[in-house]
Assembly symmetry: C2
Amino acid sequence: MNIAASSTENAGPFTHACVWHKLLANKIVEVAEKIKKLGQDDPRRIVHSLKVGLALTLVSLFYYIQPLYDRIGENLIWAVITVVLVFEFSVGATLGKGLNRMLATFSSGALGFGVHYLATLAGEKGEPIVLGFFVAIIGAIVTFVRFFPTMKTRYDYGLLIFILTFTLVSVSSYREDKVLRMAHQRVTTIIMGSFIAIVTCICIRPVWIGVELQNLVANNIEKLGNFLQGFSDEYFKISEDGQPMSDKPFLQGYKSLLTSKNSEETMANLARWELWHYRFGFCHPWKQYVKVGTLTRQCAYKIDALNNYLNSEIQTFNEFGCKIQDPSTKICSESGKALRELASAVKKMNQSTSVNAHIENLKIATENLKSMLDTYHLKDAKLQDVIPPAEVALTLIDVVPCIVKIADAVHELASLAHFKTPATRVSP
Amino acid sequence: MNIAASSTENAGPFTHACVWHKLLANKIVEVAEKIKKLGQDDPRRIVHSLKVGLALTLVSLFYYIQPLYDRIGENLIWAVITVVLVFEFSVGATLGKGLNRMLATFSSGALGFGVHYLATLAGEKGEPIVLGFFVAIIGAIVTFVRFFPTMKTRYDYGLLIFILTFTLVSVSSYREDKVLRMAHQRVTTIIMGSFIAIVTCICIRPVWIGVELQNLVANNIEKLGNFLQGFSDEYFKISEDGQPMSDKPFLQGYKSLLTSKNSEETMANLARWELWHYRFGFCHPWKQYVKVGTLTRQCAYKIDALNNYLNSEIQTFNEFGCKIQDPSTKICSESGKALRELASAVKKMNQSTSVNAHIENLKIATENLKSMLDTYHLKDAKLQDVIPPAEVALTLIDVVPCIVKIADAVHELASLAHFKTPATRVSP
């Protein structure tokens, strides 16, 4: 803005326009770069946008086909509304919303028809009163049901559509004589809309939320492994060259785990709708992924403490520091190997065979460190020098049970989900 | 089921019916208890459900008023749809959705009308092609825009409605001659529906999400304070009577903080829509609450480490343990007082006057503990005995900068939000 202001002071209208033109061009370039970055970060976003455009065009074709329009007419808008509201980024979310919408429309349409029949019994004057009463009661009850946690996680959208359709059918029934025909047309168009949304979502480069969840959980485990494998090098390097390490990406990766609880739970709930994914089949134990995720997060809280020791001021190591270096390094490297092996097992859906060996090594290394600490006798040392390395050692000992728990949970997952046993073991 | 099975073995159909009747009654009682609990946990849920029922009845009245129906007819369904989709638990969410919906309907209706005009230029055969093309392009572009984080947080619903209305207006315009009239009626009914939803939401026992967020942030700070004030008693009591403490609620309260990030951010985004709340006014610094919340959470991670020391095995205290008891207890009690004072300041929107004194005391106590640790010389002590109390002391020292940061953030909030200065200071 400064450039524009200074250069336009003595300028005519043409120069003025030129400068504004340049500013506008800069702004456009800036927005274009943002768009490019957003697309590059996850190219599936662009594909998703194009898929929505395609689905909308497909559903609007219905309007241009004369025989279809003659039969259904204005109610075709419900197909359009359905496509817009049901189409989501992942297959699980789209399926969940589509099935919820179809089921809710069907059941609430039937209930609305029943209430319409009851209301006609009340005579012409009583009809609006009966209808209004039922709309208020059913609306309040279903709204309250939406607060139940079990209903909220899977059927929230269906309950919303239930209220919507029931109210629409009830109030329309007062004006429209052919209620049954109207209800039938709406159900048909909503099924048509859901069908278009689901087919477009599945057939063109689908995003399976189950695969996403599996990768997320595996990557989170891997991030912990990367941290631990890198940690001992970084920590003991400080002592050797006296230089603090830079913020390396593998040491910061675990931070995204600390607050991933909600997204994991949402993904697990959506993944359940992907009933027929070739890789998972029916009844895949999605809850177990949440359990593994929770244990990984608990481990990440402890890792966060370790990270703080890395960031604290440079310490010089004394005899004690050197003594814990070997067992600590062993714990870190075995933990890292075990966790990376577990991550790869989850990702490839293999039974992990070499994890148990690493866990055994890890337990032995932990026992060594523990007995070393238990028997170590301080002879005239300054507390200041002893505490920092001792804290690191104790935190590492604390991390080990977390890792064992993660390994157990992954083994449980492997047996629940019937992970295959690899024919030839690839060494990690 | 076992009771039913065993008692019905030799029974006639009457007894059979009786047993099933009892089982059914039990099931009903169980569900009723669940409902009662859900209502008791938060009675506002019941009020909200009744409000939705009322709003639905109000909007369905439109159908029964003959002059209104004569003018608007079938398009009245949009008012019903709007009430169902816009009515949310909190005022902020309802206002946000209502304003989004109105704005999006208006702008996309105008765009749809423009595209309709363009399409008619293309002749009868070209019209569906032009319309289909624009529906695909605009649908894809707006879907992509929904991925921008800044758009997603505030305008996601509006963008969805934009796609919906644009598609509906475009495809309907092919069939309907009076496009302008239809667009006008839809905008009118949607405004009517939003108005009913917003008025019902605000006038009958409203839930202001801004107040909720303020209380959440204040309660979270208070939970940390409660933990710290309780911690020193519990920790040093272990040493005295050798008994582990039970899981007291004030020691577990902080755990809900660890994963509250998402809900705080969502609430802050919704609170911005509550423009005219009497307590906050325009431009209340909602982002600052998120900042305070983030700092509180970082402090909670460290508190989690302290909690682990409480849960670890019972230790016997030696000379060193006794030596840190006094300064540690001082830090805990001053931290607790400062945090509780801060929480009360946020809740009452007061400038906190006595916090600074507590913070000063806290800093002095920390310096004392630090210099004690720095100068302490271990004479022939077992490492095992020294480490646990030393860890607690170091973690406490680590917690102090977090508390200072929280206090600074709350002071910043107080000045940004023009918290009032209390006339007479009430001692904490």
